[in-house]
Point group: D3
Amino acid sequence: MTDSIFKIAVAKFGCIGAAPLLDLILDERADRKDLEVRGFTSGAKLDPDSCSVIVDQIIAYAPDLVVIVSPNAALPGATGARETLAEAKLPTITVSDGPSKKAFKGKDEEGKSINIVLDGQGFIILPSDPMIGARREFLDPTEMSIFNGDVIKVLAATGVIRYIQVAFDKVVSEIKQGKSPEMPMLVANAEDVVSQAGFTSPYAQAKAIAALSIAETVAKLTTKGCFMVKDAEKYIPLVAAGHEVLRAAVMLADELREMEKSGDTVRRTPHKPSGETLQKNKLAEKPA
Amino acid sequence: MTDSIFKIAVAKFGCIGAAPLLDLILDERADRKDLEVRGFTSGAKLDPDSCSVIVDQIIAYAPDLVVIVSPNAALPGATGARETLAEAKLPTITVSDGPSKKAFKGKDEEGKSINIVLDGQGFIILPSDPMIGARREFLDPTEMSIFNGDVIKVLAATGVIRYIQVAFDKVVSEIKQGKSPEMPMLVANAEDVVSQAGFTSPYAQAKAIAALSIAETVAKLTTKGCFMVKDAEKYIPLVAAGHEVLRAAVMLADELREMEKSGDTVRRTPHKPSGETLQKNKLAEKPA
Amino acid sequence: MTDSIFKIAVAKFGCIGAAPLLDLILDERADRKDLEVRGFTSGAKLDPDSCSVIVDQIIAYAPDLVVIVSPNAALPGATGARETLAEAKLPTITVSDGPSKKAFKGKDEEGKSINIVLDGQGFIILPSDPMIGARREFLDPTEMSIFNGDVIKVLAATGVIRYIQVAFDKVVSEIKQGKSPEMPMLVANAEDVVSQAGFTSPYAQAKAIAALSIAETVAKLTTKGCFMVKDAEKYIPLVAAGHEVLRAAVMLADELREMEKSGDTVRRTPHKPSGETLQKNKLAEKPA
Amino acid sequence: MTDSIFKIAVAKFGCIGAAPLLDLILDERADRKDLEVRGFTSGAKLDPDSCSVIVDQIIAYAPDLVVIVSPNAALPGATGARETLAEAKLPTITVSDGPSKKAFKGKDEEGKSINIVLDGQGFIILPSDPMIGARREFLDPTEMSIFNGDVIKVLAATGVIRYIQVAFDKVVSEIKQGKSPEMPMLVANAEDVVSQAGFTSPYAQAKAIAALSIAETVAKLTTKGCFMVKDAEKYIPLVAAGHEVLRAAVMLADELREMEKSGDTVRRTPHKPSGETLQKNKLAEKPA
Amino acid sequence: MTDSIFKIAVAKFGCIGAAPLLDLILDERADRKDLEVRGFTSGAKLDPDSCSVIVDQIIAYAPDLVVIVSPNAALPGATGARETLAEAKLPTITVSDGPSKKAFKGKDEEGKSINIVLDGQGFIILPSDPMIGARREFLDPTEMSIFNGDVIKVLAATGVIRYIQVAFDKVVSEIKQGKSPEMPMLVANAEDVVSQAGFTSPYAQAKAIAALSIAETVAKLTTKGCFMVKDAEKYIPLVAAGHEVLRAAVMLADELREMEKSGDTVRRTPHKPSGETLQKNKLAEKPA
Amino acid sequence: MTDSIFKIAVAKFGCIGAAPLLDLILDERADRKDLEVRGFTSGAKLDPDSCSVIVDQIIAYAPDLVVIVSPNAALPGATGARETLAEAKLPTITVSDGPSKKAFKGKDEEGKSINIVLDGQGFIILPSDPMIGARREFLDPTEMSIFNGDVIKVLAATGVIRYIQVAFDKVVSEIKQGKSPEMPMLVANAEDVVSQAGFTSPYAQAKAIAALSIAETVAKLTTKGCFMVKDAEKYIPLVAAGHEVLRAAVMLADELREMEKSGDTVRRTPHKPSGETLQKNKLAEKPA
């Protein structure tokens, strides 16, 4: 690959917190000359039919890199999509939440953890991207939006968005250089995320680990409330509690960002128009 | 139209705060039987070429309703898209921010305000959906995500998401019934939004108007910082201030939601699987 | 038993959040005529020798009821204490944290959950009473105190203290009436705790479940930081994060109490001098 | 005294905020090899009989140092305890609240302030450890626990716990070295406490003085509400106000701790297993 | 007196928190037809000469009622002013802070508390209107303004402003009706203030008592810091702590106002153009 | 002018947020030897008659400098006052809010912005000093006081008070030196204010710009609610929203002050007794 435009296709099947802005984080100011991003979504649906239509469109688009984002990527829709894309030999990264571990992580004969991926594919698992409280008594478009706004803030302030950016930047750069890219096979646990986030304050860092751990707690309540409890009197408090847990994570996320502001140490990693990633910490300084 | 699935195409050109979740707010729990949503995005780009590719895909999809969402819908890309879609006779609603007023609002010979729309089209203008602080020294993927998470929370908690939901629900319902729909031509000013939001507490309502008014203030700072000031020493504080203004709006948004929680009067308007909209205020009650 | 004074011995081996005030919650204003409480503690230590000395003192005191409180009651010290007290035929309740489940909960041949208790004994397991971040680089007397103050606030505001009070009140009442008491065998999971707490606001209730779920998250970080990670550079952020998680739970605990204050619905269950428990919700009203 | 274990007996008569954790602050991680702490409590009661039983147990234990903690140590129970312990020649420190000044502080013939202590005894008076709002309409086990959790947080974050630790560490060290110890005769006024607390931020220090001064204000309201006003309609608001005053002190305590976190200047003074006190300020550094 | 305009002269000698807006609280929307207010101030100065010039101007103005507001009204300037105004037979109310008690409150021969006033005069003593931290290292125009803004918020939200309004409204009404007015002789202690404030929420009321009690605490620190401690290293933390104490009172003041907003029970007592006072609690209702 | 006392007359016609303390900001600790300030107010009224009485008193006082402060200085009362004072050849500075721009800012023939001032006069326009929500259903003396307390806090914490101080200090100094003073002709827009405020933290600075921009937003709502909407059901939410907007500005103002405290970088600019202005940043240091 040389000077041509790099083409990324983002397939969104349903929604997790990382999904809504995923097609934007590589070109956050819409000034990259080297990149074209095209997003394809099936709305809230993630059944195989919805997914395969989108995969066909993506193959027609002929991108240099495909990103799939969906809840539980072990479900048939996403699984089928990965298979079709592997056959099409399109390099593909799946971004998904905790339940997707069963799609990508297994054990070898000796019981050692191994990655399960198709040729040319990778994954980024986000255990802190929590399941929503999807009960009709609780979740309407407004509550759904608040939840996703909150998840986005937690993912961004704690470093998960940067973690994804770093992984994407690396693959894009390798493909652009004509290399056979080393696809990411990552479980974004709190400590790894935070160690890459560039915090200066050790307490901001601790709060980030805390916020992500709290976000991981959400799913216990929402999963129980959505799938395991049948009585509305019981599941309504559970799903409502799940969203309150997330709101507590947002409070920490806000605190840690303010703490870094307080010391003028907010790490920023914007892209150049040519696609390189810059870095800076002091607000007044030029990124370099 | 009868029992068939209703098809909506959402075209996202670039990003405003209402965009990331717009393909989800009609089917917030992914359980609607009557609806199919397909999203098509050009990433951060909104030039005419990016837009027209997407419009072609949409026309191929043959939806019952098209929604375009983009910043400043008066720009050539969105304008061209609307024209092509009008020629294709696809009912189209544009959702855009304050600067798009010049596309849709004009004056007649007597100076009276009139709407400017193509046949079969409508618009929802969101003056409180603010421009981001798009300067490289300030905006990286993380800051971009925080900003959008914040905007989403403000739009949802104050009632803007419900305002859009109501408008969409009405058009979808009319088309489903085989009627010629009355397309929305709406400027979502704070008072109208809030009067539809279903607040019980008058102080929550006042805080919602306040939050939206503050959100409208953001763009003054970011627009100045992005387009009118050339010296980094001067524009960095401006764009940073813009995002601080938004964060103040989030504080009010959170307060007003907590105030309604405190009185157990949070309005919820979920969809039924058949597509009808339900309503409830007390957490324990069934939506009806 | 008749009109004589009821004697309770509280044995504290080491510290969990429920321990510091456990000898006070049955006589919160020191005006009960029917009750005598004696506390015996081994400071921070919980080895078998420290525990057995205390058990001897308790047997000498000849109480009507013994309460043991300690972290991980499956450890040898607490286990030995329970055995000696069972031999002495003193009714004994153990209050402990999550890891103590392995002492009290087992499975029968068919895999069904069963309780494991000695004759005349009971237990209250508090999964939300979290392990402290016991690393020398982090935990000094000041940090230890802050942590326990925070845990106490979470346990009290969410209803755990009331849950313990109810269980104790019941046993004391039964023994005072000369009955053979039904000893408590309770795992204080969030939903049970909250359903007994007497919340009027459903959102306060949801926040209480949330706060307890977050408190349960603490131990994952502190256990890992104390026992599984050896490198100070790595365990310091983990134990610090554990305490930040707890602080987020405190924020919710404070919020929910304020929410009940806001509606003048704070449940209060004071004791009468004769030992009966009263109840009230409105601040101005007499307990009855 | 040489290599043998140093034995401390802590006698708790009733409860003040400093009491619940007092047996833990010298061995905060339960890893001291040189120290044995034994606590003896009379629950909420502090009458002479309850106290003398405990004193007998303590004398039987033969500790190297006795610590008494109680509200108003000028009452007969605590006074008798001090006398018996003096006769038994056990070095004794009393930790008590503001009203205990009348037990320990007097004037000589010329009107100069003098200390009133028995041979070999000392005292630490904590004016900021406030009386609880002990009215049945208000104080139940839950409210009692919240109050004490709040007091503990204020005492710890402002430096009172460290102030006590320093005094105890000094006496223990002197006795361990075989010296005749200089017993503490201290009134822990806000400025002295704060000057020993090791704050780096002058505003954190100011907030600590403020929090302690506010905590001192509590007792005016609760004393009036408990002892001087007889009409429930009047005393309920007073005791409720007392606890609100304390909550305001907690807000400052939390703020000042966060402020020191923000600058990575939280002073920590953990004990070594050998009993020496270490010191550190930066989270990442080793205590030394 | 009949239909003529009622004339009030407000003399401000120096500043207390109640002073800056005192000439506005009887005509808060500038629409009263029956009232003329004229203010005369000596800036920050309150020496006898400054005061007497102002008194001369007031006498020339021939008002129906004089209000003096100053710190410590027992000082010579204010005392002289009261004497001159008494000679001039102008009804005069002094509004001052805690130290002014020595001017207005004495004891009779039997030790009973009596009021000390000149003929036709009254007073309102505000113990919760605190002395500022007037040290050059700390107090500049900005800090002075923040302090006074904070005091105003505390006085208003807790009911002190309403307490003054009620007293003034009563005197004005009596004089307007040609009666010999009963001049107020009031010490605005927290409980009296709050019982007149019209709170619906008992917890808002408790918070108001708390906020006022905390505000009373400020002066202990600032008085000590300004007059009793000479070493800058020592008095700077004291005056800074005084302002932090006030800020904590503001937090409670804000909380209690929000609590009343939450229940839609904010009491409002606006004036009619004719001077009568109206009352209302629900935001949407007409005052009556 | 030499060693004599410098005399300033402050005329307050009605009230804006900058008014209540304007006579105090040049002598914040009442210890200046070189200065005499005399304030003259017409209460809430600002009609021509009220104003001209005050102007006569001021001319009689023969000050070295006159300061007029009023809302909308383009109204007849203030305009007449300026004319009379110009005739009297008294140097006069008007401090007013945004609407006063039409009094002082015009355009020359070429459309360039020019200042419109009488000889020897100047102005300071404060666009962030917002109009109050002056509706009887909403504004009573208590709400009026809270609003002004809030405005004062915003003006002070963001630097507007310092901005005014600097302008006044300069004019006073020039007149004292016998110079013909350069009268200020200033529009205190957010960026200018903040650049003079002496912030060290760039995020505190951004928050200050944000707070002032939000404060400017208030007037849109209150002006509409007071003058343009006639229906109480509609104007009550608007004026209530206006005050909520201001409260959001206060939150930012408080945050930015705390942020500067956190870094020990709070700029202070106290006056010396001789009238010179000192400066300092660290709390412990002497102003110089």
